[in-house]
Assembly symmetry: C2
Homo-oligomer: 340 residues x 2
């Protein structure tokens, strides 16, 4: 029997909700029989969007949630107060085992807080990091933590490295992924206090292929498969990646419009350029999962289009097929047993 | 009378020493009458390079230094042990007032340590940051600290902000430069412990135009003029800037070679593209000074060419003309008086 996945999808989250979110769900169930979507949010608004399409209705459910958490709200307060929000209700379905995964393009802060409070961490997991795939010259690398835990400690970073390694091996299919910690130099004595404390712990870790420090310069060149960083640094890396690429592209475009000769050239290179830039566009790689929770929680871009929502739903299927949740559980249950 | 500047130049530092360094010095003195260079390093090697050129000999001196500090050496140890190295001797000339500035393309670590130990900090300055100009869509921004002090404290960051503001106003000519602190979000409650502690201090600072937090995404778009960061984060930003730009450019070039059509287009756009990419190339902006020392110390790229060396020497002249050293001194002497 074919494996199937039940995904609670936040219909109210993100800049393009509910329109693009619902469309993404419809496209996903039409394309893959093994996907079952539970749209969570204001029922009326969802029904009105759904009425625009024909689709296999038996694989699209609606669960009503009357409230919406905005990106402006303080996350902890919002999760505590808005019990009937699409995020709390959707994550509750995962907690109760009624859904395998929760996907949202809504408030990152609220999704992260809800992941820890509503879904909960696996036993033995100290912090749950956000793991984001970033494009490199050689393919993709996993940035973990890309922003969930600022002021994380060395023991957290070691867990991020181990969980990230499992992700890259089983989801992306890289055998023995190279794990490196972000640092200001490659020599072992370099670094801030946190990195200096974490380095020997990673080196002593038997179940990962630790290759040492990586300077930020080497990340886009594909210098490692799993990039370990504390959440503040990771978030700076993720956002600067986006910012530099978009600024450079807009400068190049402006440059191309500067003369008749370059305008003509621009017409000729357009298809090739488009393809290249696409390979450097983070939105092509679906959402970012939180690792180490009792169920799957995936954050997609706030401006996610239907296509990105669909890709993120497909990603959840891969997670289920590859038994990522079970593998994480095993990783930490071995540890708990060893300790006990 | 025209203002002149005496610069001690490390002839032995960097990948292209002494050839490109000496050539840069020769080009600089030929181009500007007000520049006087003291080449510091192995006299024989320097003389042999100088013999290739004709130049105004009265404005080029040599001070012998028999040792060289390599980038592999631990900086503190190297500065302490190699008393006759080009870095220690050159910085000693600044300390003794025999030179206005010291310029080197050598070991960043050794230059930074020597700056603090040999040249020394101005009274009242707690840490001396490295201030690097980075290209943005709107021109340039000053990244301070770009790597001198990892694990810096909030009071250090406030000083970085104030010194950076003076730099941008008087060297780059931006009135009331916008000062922002690197953060994971723009809301005031966002951030790690350090940023949360620093934010209100910057806000209370009467002598800078503090605009709040800046997300890394906005840096390349020119979201602030002075980008304040602790040295670890600043170094990650600087290196990722370099890495993303170079990876993207190499991907674009590869893409352009993918078809006959795009190859033809590439020929047409080459001049425009080159010009654009040049504006995003950090090496165009000379070296990075350490701020808050008793004399000027400037670090140039390890792979600096003669042209970059020359630009950095010109930069020292601007520093002298704009009385940056005096202005920094006044900034902290006011403070010392207020405290006293």
């Amino acid at each position: 029997m074919q494996e199937s996945v039940r995904i609670a999808l936040d219909a109210m989250g993100g800049d393009n909700a509910p329109g693009e979110i619902v469309k993404g769900a419809v496209d996903a169930v039409k394309e893959k029989d093994s996907i079952h979507v539970i749209l969570v949010g204001r029922e009326e608004a969802i029904r009105s969007e759904l009425s625009k399409y024909s689709y296999p209705e038996e694989r699209v459910e609606i669960v009503n949630a009357s409230e919406v958490i905005t990106t402006e709200e303080a996350p902890v307060m919002a999760i505590r107060k808005k019990k009937d929000s699409s995020i709390v209700v959707g994550q509750g379905l995962v907690r109760k085992g009624e859904a395998d995964a929760f996907v949202s393009a809504g408030s990152t802060g609220a999704i992260l807080v809800g992941g820890q409070l509503v879904v909960g961490r696996l036993r033995g997991v100290e912090r749950s990091p956000l793991a984001t795939l970033i494009p490199t010259e050689k393919g993709v690398a996993l940035l973990v933590d890309s922003g969930a835990n600022v002021d994380a400690r060395s023991s957290h970073l070691v867990q991020f490295a181990r969980m990230g390694s499992i992700y890259m091996e089983h989801i992306i299919g890289i055998k023995q992924p190279r794990v490196a910690i972000v640092n200001v130099g490659v020599e072992e004595e370099k670094g801030n206090a946190l990195v200096k404390e974490t380095y020997p712990l990673l080196k002593a870790c038997g179940d990962i292929h630790f290759t040492g420090s990586i300077e930020a310069r080497e990340i886009p060149h594909g210098g490692a498969d799993v990039i370990v960083a504390e959440g503040f640094t990771g978030n700076v890396i993720l956002k600067l990646y986006e910012g530099t690429a978009s600024a450079l592209v807009s400068q190049v475009k402006k440059g191309l419009m500067s003369s008749f000769r370059s305008k003509l050239g621009a017409l000729l290179i357009k298809p090739a350029l488009k393809k290249t830039l696409k390979s450097f566009d983070a939105t092509e790689y679906g959402g970012a999962p939180m690792l180490g929770l009792k169920g799957l929680v995936v954050k997609t871009h706030g401006n996610a289009s239907a296509k990105e929502v669909k890709n993120t739903l497909f990603q959840c299927l891969t997670f289920k097929k590859q038994r990522i949740g079970d593998r994480m559980k095993e990783l930490f249950s071995d540890e708990n047993n060893q300790k006990g």
